[in-house]
Symmetry: C2
DNA sequence: GCAAAGTATTGCACTTGGTGTCATCGCGTA
DNA sequence: TACGCGATGACACCAAGTGCAATACTTTGC
C-alpha cells in the first residue's frame, strides 16, 4: 500500500497527537498536521472524516475484541460472567502501551469536542456488546442493560488506571474491583429491600 | 430581559428544532435559523456556543434535579435507593411533554454530531450524580460507579419510552423495571459465584 | 520493458461554522 | 433629558470540510 513515503495514515496520526499535545487541539490546524506529516490538508481529509477522528483508530479493534470474546465465552457462563470476560479482554488490549494511551487521554481530557467523540465511540461499543450478548440468546432488555453497564464499569476502572502510572499492568485488577463494587452495591440494597418486606 | 421582540432565545430554539426536523441538521444553516427567528447569525452565536447546543437547554435543569433529589433522600436509604429516587425524579421531569422530547429525540438520532453532544451532556450528569453521592458520605469509587450506572440504566428505560407512545406517562415504571433487571442480573451471577466456591 | 488501469495525493474553488470588533438600538434609571 | 447597560447587528476574517479534476506513482497484463 506504500506510495511516496509509506504509512501516510500513521504519520498523520502521530503528527496529530504530537501537535495536539504540544499546542492544544484548537491551536492546531489541519494544514499544520498535514505539513508535519509531509502531506497536504486535502490528504488528511482523505484519510479521516474530521479533525477529531485522527485520534480514534483503535476503536474498531476494540469492538472486534468485545465481539469475539463474548462469542467465545463458555456456554455455562452467566450473562454477567460473559460481560466480565469481555471487559478483561478489553483491559488486556490497553495494557501493552500505557504511555501512548495516557498521552492520548490527556489530550482528550483537555477538550470537550474530543470527549464528545470519545463518548460516541463508547456508545458504539455499547451497541456492539448488546448485540453480541443478544446473539448468545440473552433477552434484548437484559442485553441492552449489560451493554450500557459494561462500558460504564470499564470507565470507572480505566479512569483510575490512567490517572496513576503505579497501576501499570493492573488494569485487569481494577476492572475486577469495579465489578465487585457493583455486586456489593446492588446486593446490599437488594438484601435491605427483602428485609423490609418482612 | 425582553428587547425588540421578547424571548429571542426561545424563538431560536423553536426555529432550530423545526428546521432540523424539516430539512435535517446538515441541510440547515445557522443563518437560516436566525432568519426564521427574525434575528441574525451573530445573535444566534451570542446565545448558543454552537449549532448543536441550541437543542440542549434542559440539561441544566436536569442536573439540578439530580442534585437536589440526591441531597434530599432520607438518611436511611442505601446508595442504590438514593440513585433510584434520583432516577425517578429525572423521569418525572420528562413525563410532561412527551411529544416535544420525542421530536427532539428523532432529530438527534438522525445525526452523529448531535448524538455526541447528547453523550457529553450525559457525562456531565454522571459527574453531578457522583459528587452529589459523595457529598452524602458515600465513598468515592462507589459514588463514581453509581454515577456511571445511573445514566446507563436511565438510558435503557428512556430508549424504550421514547420508542413507543404507548408508554406515555409510564417512564417511571420503565426505570423501575431497568433497576429490577440490574439487580436480577447481578445477584444471579453472585449466587452462582458463591455456589461455585463451595 | 511498456502500456493500461488503478489508486494515492494534490490544487483549487467554494460553502459554512464560528469569532473578534465595533457600532447601534432600546430600555431603565438618575 | 441624559446616561449607562445589555441585546442586537454589520462586517471582516480564519479554519473546517467538500467536490472536482489533474497529476504522480504503482501494479498488472502482455
Amino acid at each position: 500500500m506504500a506510495r511516496w513515503e509509506p504509512d501516510a495514515r500513521g504519520r498523520l496520526e502521530r503528527a496529530a497527537l504530537e501537535l495536539y499535545s504540544e499546542q492544544g487541539f484548537d491551536q492546531t490546524t489541519v494544514a499544520e498536521i498535514a505539513k508535519r506529516a509531509g502531506l497536504t490538508k486535502r490528504t488528511f481529509f482523505n484519510h479521516f472524516a474530521d479533525k477529531p477522528e485522527v485520534l480514534f483508530w483503535g476503536h474498531e479493534v476494540l469492538r472486534e475484541v468485545y465481539e469475539t470474546s463474548i462469542a467465545d465465552a463458555p456456554a455455562s457462563a452467566t450473562p454477567l460472567d460473559v460481560l466480565a470476560a469481555a471487559l478483561q479482554a478489553a483491559a488486556a488490549l490497553h495494557e501493552p502501551r500505557p504511555e501512548l494511551i495516557r498521552r492520548r487521554h490527556v489530550v482528550i481530557a483537555a477538550h470537550p469536542a474530543l470527549q464528545e467523540r470519545e463518548h460516541l465511540k463508547r456508545a458504539t461499543v455499547a451497541d456492539t456488546i448488546t448485540s453480541a450478548l443478544h446473539r448468545r440468546g440473552i433477552d434484548e432488555p437484559t442485553a441492552r442493560l449489560l451493554g450500557e453497564i459494561g462500558p460504564a464499569v470499564f470507565k470507572v476502572a480505566y479512569d483510575r488506571w490512567v490517572a496513576d502510572a503505579a497501576y501499570d499492568g493492573r488494569l485487569g485488577e481494577l476492572v475486577a474491583d469495579a465489578l465487585g463494587s457493583l455486586a456489593e452495591v446492588v446486593t446490599t440494597s437488594a438484601a435491605r429491600s427483602a428485609t423490609s418486606l418482612l
